[in-house]
Symmetry: C3
Amino acid sequence: MSTLKTSPITLGYISEYLDAELVGCADKVIIGLSTLHSASSDQLSFLANSKYIQSLKDTSAGALILSQKNLASCPCDALVMDDPYWGYARASRLFRNDDHQPGVHPAAIIADSATIPASASIAPGVVIEEGVVLGEGVIIGPGCVLGKHVRLGDECHLYANVTLYHGVEMGSQSIIHSGSVIGADGFGYAPHEGCWEKIEQFGSVRIGQGVEIGANTTIDRGALDDTVIGDGVIIDNQIQIGHNVVIGDYSAVASSTAIAGSTKIGRYCTIAGAVAIAGHVDIADNVHIKGMSMVSKSIAEPGVYASGTGGVMVNREWQKNAARFRKLNALVERVSVLEKKLSQANS
Amino acid sequence: MSTLKTSPITLGYISEYLDAELVGCADKVIIGLSTLHSASSDQLSFLANSKYIQSLKDTSAGALILSQKNLASCPCDALVMDDPYWGYARASRLFRNDDHQPGVHPAAIIADSATIPASASIAPGVVIEEGVVLGEGVIIGPGCVLGKHVRLGDECHLYANVTLYHGVEMGSQSIIHSGSVIGADGFGYAPHEGCWEKIEQFGSVRIGQGVEIGANTTIDRGALDDTVIGDGVIIDNQIQIGHNVVIGDYSAVASSTAIAGSTKIGRYCTIAGAVAIAGHVDIADNVHIKGMSMVSKSIAEPGVYASGTGGVMVNREWQKNAARFRKLNALVERVSVLEKKLSQANS
Amino acid sequence: MSTLKTSPITLGYISEYLDAELVGCADKVIIGLSTLHSASSDQLSFLANSKYIQSLKDTSAGALILSQKNLASCPCDALVMDDPYWGYARASRLFRNDDHQPGVHPAAIIADSATIPASASIAPGVVIEEGVVLGEGVIIGPGCVLGKHVRLGDECHLYANVTLYHGVEMGSQSIIHSGSVIGADGFGYAPHEGCWEKIEQFGSVRIGQGVEIGANTTIDRGALDDTVIGDGVIIDNQIQIGHNVVIGDYSAVASSTAIAGSTKIGRYCTIAGAVAIAGHVDIADNVHIKGMSMVSKSIAEPGVYASGTGGVMVNREWQKNAARFRKLNALVERVSVLEKKLSQANS
């Protein structure tokens, strides 16, 4: 467990912050969040799903966020609100331990023409090239590289070892985790007599505000126009986003998914993990793709979509089924023959 | 959009460079490339696919690269050539903005025994270990680490935060994008009494000339012999290439593909995105694997190959089909019984 | 091939080290390991699989590790033991070229409160934050970033450009390859009125001893409790391990696999490459998942499991089968109708 301390805060303060009804002691000091199982009497926990209501009687938590309908089962102080999981998320912000000091570390390399406000925190080993403009309160972790003319809005946070190629822009309060690379060249080549002629990538990447990008994710710069990530989009780890992709506001992409070039994803979509989306595909708003699916064509209607054979089976059984798949077309023809014969026999 | 400026060049110069027929004004100055839709009167665009010919009448481009058959529809100056997409690719080189200054930044750490020509450009935060040899005009971006005895040919370009382990070699004019790791240990262990005994990896990685490797890709060093990437190979982002893999000249591997150890891929192959290729497999020249396929056996014949269930369906429909897949073998047996019964009934 | 030299060692020494029977000259000097095909007379090779026994007569190796049953075919000196592949693995350790010098490079940035033993080797460009504690003989490659209160046991080795977030702990003799990111925030958000409310991630990552983690792999920190990797676990490249995942001792995870949050994997499991495992799934000990499978539910019994349609087919054939999959449920209904009709006809 992290050895970082969290700050003491009273239940009364949390109640006001969450706009939750407090049933209990406003002066009780809460030092952190924990699970129902692990929470101690100075920690806050939550019940988001009524199916875990039996766990309440065993918790040692000092207080719980829960909904009105479960209040009667609460063995301790309570913060009552309609959406306890959202309350837990919001409360978690209060216990962040964010102690970055403003200032530029002497072991950072900053181009003279870069604009770095005094409120920004620049760690050692950072390289900031010409013409970069950072907003107020930006935090840049060790080893990050910001290419020429990168622009970051206020309160953006790059964790260690993030690479932003030249010209990448990001709105305020967005986060990028370590190892991610934004703005590398898209995979663009013209085939010619068996060789691949590289197409220079002149677009950039524009990322909205309130975006979070996980670790070791890659978002390529556009070929001529830009690659665009909308506001409030959340993108997990190990994701590939090709050149000229557009992702609409508030969509979510889970880990290890690959989105090929020029594909457009609407707003409020969720793409589960390990999905592959072909290039030049248009996906409407409110589309939800299940894990490990392949999207090879545009999707015009909101809804839930999937492909594949579903979850694992015992290998011996699976092998038989997979072998049959290889002759599925022939099977259909066998069935057609049977239907025809039976139809003739009955006529 | 990138705020980097591109250089002004005349149409006449581009025409000669491309060996294209100029129909228009040789002195017209072109400042960059753009799409048909976005190009302004001082930009060059192209028509590679005749199905977009209707877009020509709306373009404001100053000039277009197109083929003879579409020349009549060109509303502006024209550069006529057989393969306009190749022309666009080649023309893109003219508008690159490559302003790396030769020299070693004082905040780079270079071993005394490394050979760095005066024409090389070494950014801050670079670490170059003993015995490294760089060719003329090599560009090493910030934060790159080159292990002992790495050798790079002339005009190689490593973008920021690339890691090359000891002994990796790369031919001239090859490119590696940020976050890629070349030469980490292959995944080699001997199982013994429930534990994994690590096998030291003594081979290296040899990369040909004119290769491009995307961002956050990994290519492991060989166990005893080397891992080998041929000339002119293009490798996208987030790709895993296991130890002792050999990829033939001019093959292409799209993003998020995984190639397990000791597999050999021929020349002029294309491996689409999110493909998984098992280890110890031999793939012939001119083999093309479609997206999200699994290759578990050798492929001896050129051609196009695929696996999986195809693209997504509406989830409700998909669930029924996937459930049926789990009993596909039983279904075939049911059909066999029917065939037998009907055959008996008819005899 | 790597140009690094390996040390000369006698066969007699290797024989004792491996506890193998030496049939040959104890004073013969061996300078390295190689394959049967490439080995020279001063190199050691091995025969682990009797099916390659025909290769023995063509080898120029100076000595071979092999089993008693194949000794008669050995054309050179022999080291005889029951498990030659394990012998090869152990012998490989003798030929490692590990020449890291203890000490902190002046171009490393170390917080005053960090504990760095004199036996540790800290490369240039490393950033070590407050409260970090390193064990004896730890090696930290160039460009690594160790966040606050990271703790590494004795003889851990981080290759270049590894990022450990605050509070990550790792047991002794564990290895992490370049580009891996341990302890980034898990992908946790509460959906609320179409937006994603970030849930701060207060857990950490605890990694056991004797673990090896490949390149560009990501392991997220836990939300409230920790993400846990057991002792002796081996994890390949490009892998995503979500928050609060637990992986049991001595399990192995091959490249490009994604494991979603809160999933528990038992001990002695093997997860092949490009597998996707859903969140909140429990997998028993001794479970083996084949390549490119999807695990969407818990697995309670040891055994081998798989999903998918198997390896690639010629595209023309595959397209027909994949199209039929889309109507598989309808096909089953057609077969049911036939069965019913035939049953009626026969009654």
